[in-house]
Amino acid sequence: MAKYTLNINGKKTQVEAEPDTPMLWVIRDFVGLKGTKFGCGMALCGACTIHVNGQPVRSCQTPVSSLKKNSKITTIEGIGNTQLHAVQKAWIEEQVPQCGYCQSGQIMSAVALLKAKPKPTDEDIDTYMSGNICRCGTYDRIRKAIHRAAAMV
């Protein structure tokens, strides 16, 4: 067991965990933020996507010990601060989610995409979002919502 001080959504949190514990389980079960989801545990589905210093990472493949000190972690709960992020608003406008289980990960990837490419084309979206699986098949709406969000920010 080791002690870690994590900066999650702007809040400092202390956790005690085995060094190899993936951030996915640290965030969900040690910190108690359940918006980040377990889908595959193998970096195949993107459901567990979080941001570390603004970069999207698969938290199921990120051991807590691998994070550099003072890394800024953002989860779905922290993406919008006081109000919903433009991407979340666009997601509501386009009524993207079906079961919704993949959507935290989709949104985290989309936010990162728009940071890297504020006006993405369909091809950009397809390339960037290909790591996120949606079994319910909301892909067409994800594309539309990303374009809508791009127009909003």
Binding site: D29, T36, C40, Q98, C99, I133, C134, C136, R141
Partner: protein, 726 residues
């Protein structure tokens, strides 16, 4: 009667409740009896709340709760079901909260989602529930004002008095209203006055799902909870011999290692559960286990042999599903006939949220469960017999389902968690890994189809046979399968297409199998339609006719199917020729859940691959509650249908599934998403058809038919690889 002793629920309320529950029966909701009021768990925390019926609760403060009996798994029932009540009750969506029911007896037998049945079953019943409540509130207001009811109307959670403009909120009226008789035959709104039904209203679960707030089963947290992962034998129907837990117990956080039984109907296996302080420790502990299994000979099971076995069975005559005219004679005497054989694989459901359940077997013998399940009703009904517990001692919290697709119609993972909770006497969250979910079933059953067809001299279908060879889902649910007649689930739809065929004989050959099987979105329609509708295309080609016209020629009478095909013909511009290398394919399917059809447009690429350009999909509904939800379900059917047709499938070697996670059991990704155009046919009429499933069966055959049109390659085995068609 145990839960009615709460001090806040007085005798009058109880009697009131009793009579209202019986009113629910009068309103036509099945299975609700006055005696069912023995469990009224929801009343215990309410001081001044009144239920005008079990589904609507109005508090004096004006807070209104509508109970949703249909679990939400992405199909939109969280919006569409309460909307049926809200519309009649004069509420807008912001004016009430929704509570998911947990199998409580007083909510009756409709507490499940599946078979595309929610809206079509509840459409009239729940509107009556809302209308009855509205009439009671209006009567209460009229009484208060000494006015006539006809001068009053309900809107926005208030009753208004037209002449004076006075109004009273529902909260102010509910005490009086709850003492009134419940109207037996409340007047329903005229659909032209609808504010919610038939409109693309935004779903209330969506804001929760974009902000990480929606609680899925896997998100539940209970004080002092532990976590578990279970090692189960990858070879089906094996027995546990022994195991060594020494290494597992050394992993930091691991608390104990115990046996646990999974019960999937009459398929029962024992696994080894590692219980730990956190899930990661449970996973590590599980890896450290040494377990010995007795495979019972099942280690020799493999897909190649099983396919051959099914092919060999095709020689058998089978039992007749439907016979019309004289197929045998017509086919034997024809000199213009064809035969073909179609195959489909085992398929996993792969819901994004893997199976999981949290259970707490308390010291007082009561049981509390938190789960994503499609069947809260069956959880409460089935557990008493398994665990010797009384139904009223079980509390179930139905969570949002991270996908269902039929997988969560079974409660094997719930029974497993309860078993474990009973052993360890602590609240425990048992989570399946993606590997467990992919490899351990239950799966969609593979169906093989032997097709025969003969053409008449004028190029019409003179004789047709669809023979299904398949293991059955039901064999896991009945002690002894009746093989003297076909299993309806396994021949779904093959004898119910609208095509007018003079000589037809559809049959089924039963196959033995030990790999757990279950319903999968649209069940066997998703496999049988592939064979059926591709073979119709094969016959069209043999007859030298256009595939769509060939179908219309078999539909001389007016029918829903004909309407769907004509719509597709129009919107896809079917009659406009495509350039060389491009092709269109069509298919339709009618079955218990409803009717859908689609046209695929594909382009052949220079490297033997095929690209899907566009999908036109039409669904025939009769009545639509939320067009946008229907549209999203159709988009979902396209994705799931293409995935099953071209990507995933489970094969077996040495008794085990060869696939384990999304890398070798892939599902479609965004880059593969074609353009989809949805057409909803809602012409009114008496029957309402289902939404969640009917879009799926025509996908695979329409795609395969389009590929044939573009390439000349006839695909008869799923999954087929779009990137390398030879």
């Amino acid at each position: 009667m145990s839960s009615i002793n709460n001090k806040n629920v007085n005798r009058r309320d109880f009697l009131r409740y009793t009579s209202l529950s019986s009113v629910a029966l009068i309103l036509g909701i099945p299975n609700v009896k006055a005696s069912d009021t023995a469990v009224i768990s929801n009343l215990s925390d309410l001081e001044e709340a009144f239920n005008l019926n079990p589904f609507v609760m109005i508090e004096k403060s004006g807070k209104i709760t509508i109970f949703n009996q249909r679990p939400e798994m992405g199909q939109g029932t969280f919006q569409s079901i309460p909307a049926l009540i809200a519309e009649e009750l004069g509420l807008s969506q912001e004016q009430f909260t929704i509570k998911q029911t947990g199998g409580e007896k007083h909510f009756g037998g409709g507490q499940w989602s599946g078979g595309s049945s929610s809206v079509r079953t509840d459409y009239m019943e729940l509107r009556k529930v809302g209308a009855a409540a509205r009439e009671m509130l209006i009567a209460a207001a009229a009484k208060q004002w000494n006015a006539s009811e006809s001068e009053c109307y309900a809107k926005d959670a208030k009753v208004f008095h037209k002449p004076s403009g006075k109004s009273l909120g529902y909260g102010d009226l509910v005490e009086t209203a709850s003492k009134l008789n419940v109207p037996k035959d409340p007047k329903l709104k005229d659909p032209k006055d609808f504010n919610i039904l038939g409109k693309s209203i935004k779903r209330q679960d969506v804001p929760l799902k974009v902000s990480g707030q929606a609680v899925f089963g896997i998100d539940v947290e209970v004080p002092n909870m532990v976590y578990a992962s279970v090692e189960r034998c990858p070879v089906f129907a094996s027995k546990l011999k022994d195991f060594d837990k020494t290494a597992a117990l050394k992993i930091a956080g691991v608390e104990q290692v115990v046996e646990v039984e999974r019960v999937f109907y009459n398929y029962k296996t024992i696994g080894v559960a590692v219980v730990a302080k956190n899930y990661w420790a449970a996973l590590k502990g599980r890896k450290a286990l040494k377990v010995n299994w007795d495979y019972q000979g099942h280690e020799n099971f493999n897909s190649k042999d099983f396919s051959q076995y099914l092919r060999d069975l095709a020689k058998n005559e089978g039992v007749v599903d439907k016979s019309e005219g004289d197929f045998d004679k017509t086919f034997a005497e024809s000199n213009n006939k064809i035969e073909a054989f179609y195959e489909t694989p085992f398929v996993s459901h792969s819901t994004m949220e893997a199976m999981n359940c949290t259970a707490h077997w308390k010291d007082d013998g009561k049981l509390e469960i938190w789960a994503s399940t499609q069947v809260p009703g069956s959880v409460i009904e089935d557990l008493p017999a398994i665990f010797g517990i009384k139904a009223e001692d079980i509390t179930l919290h139905t969570c949002f389902n991270g996908g269902g697709f039929g997988r969560r119609l079974a409660i094997d993972f719930i029974i497993e968690a309860v078993n474990l909770a009973k052993t360890i006497k602590k609240p425990v969250k048992l989570i399946w890994t993606r590997e467990d979910d992919t490899q351990l079933g239950p799966f969609r059953p593979p169906t093989f189809s032997a097709m025969k067809g003969a053409l008449s001299p004028d190029g019409k279908v003179a004789a047709f046979q669809h023979k299904v060879i398949a293991p059955t889902i039901l064999s896991f649910m009945t002690p002894k399968e009746d093989r003297t007649k076909p299993d309806g689930t396994m021949v779904e739809g093959i004898s119910h297409q609208a095509y007018e065929i003079p000589n037809m004989k559809n049959t089924m050959v039963f196959a033995d199998n030990h790999v757990p099987l279950l319903w999968w979105r649209s069940v066997t329609s998703s496999t049988l339609a592939f064979a059926h509708e591709c073979f119709i295309d094969e016959m069209a080609q043999k007859a030298g006719k256009d595939p769509l016209q060939f179908r219309l020629d078999m539909l001389t009478k007016e029918s829903d199917t004909k309407r769907v095909l004509q719509k597709l013909k129009e919107v896809s511009k079917w009659d406009m020729p495509l350039p060389k290398g491009k092709g269109r394919g069509i298919a339709q399917w009618e079955f218990f859940a409803g009717l859908g059809g689609c046209v695929f447009e594909v382009t052949k690429q220079s490297d033997n691959s095929v690209k899907i350009d566009k999908v036109f999909i039409a669904i025939d509904l009769g009545t639509v509650v939320n067009p946008d939800t229907v549209k999203s379900q159709m988009e979902g059917c396209v994705v799931m249908g293409i995935t099953a047709a071209t990507q995933n499938g489970i094969t077996f070697a040495n008794g085990k599934a060869e696939q384990s996670n999304f890398h070798n059991n892939p599902v479609m990704r965004i880059s593969e998403m074609p353009k989809v155009e949805v057409h909803i046919l809602a012409e009114g009429g008496k029957t309402i058809k289902g939404v969640g499933e009917p879009g799926l069966p025509p996908i695979a055959p329409a795609l395969a038919n389009a590929i044939f049109a573009a390439t000349g390659i006839r695909l008869r085995k799923m999954p087929f690889d779009l990137s390398n068609l030879v």
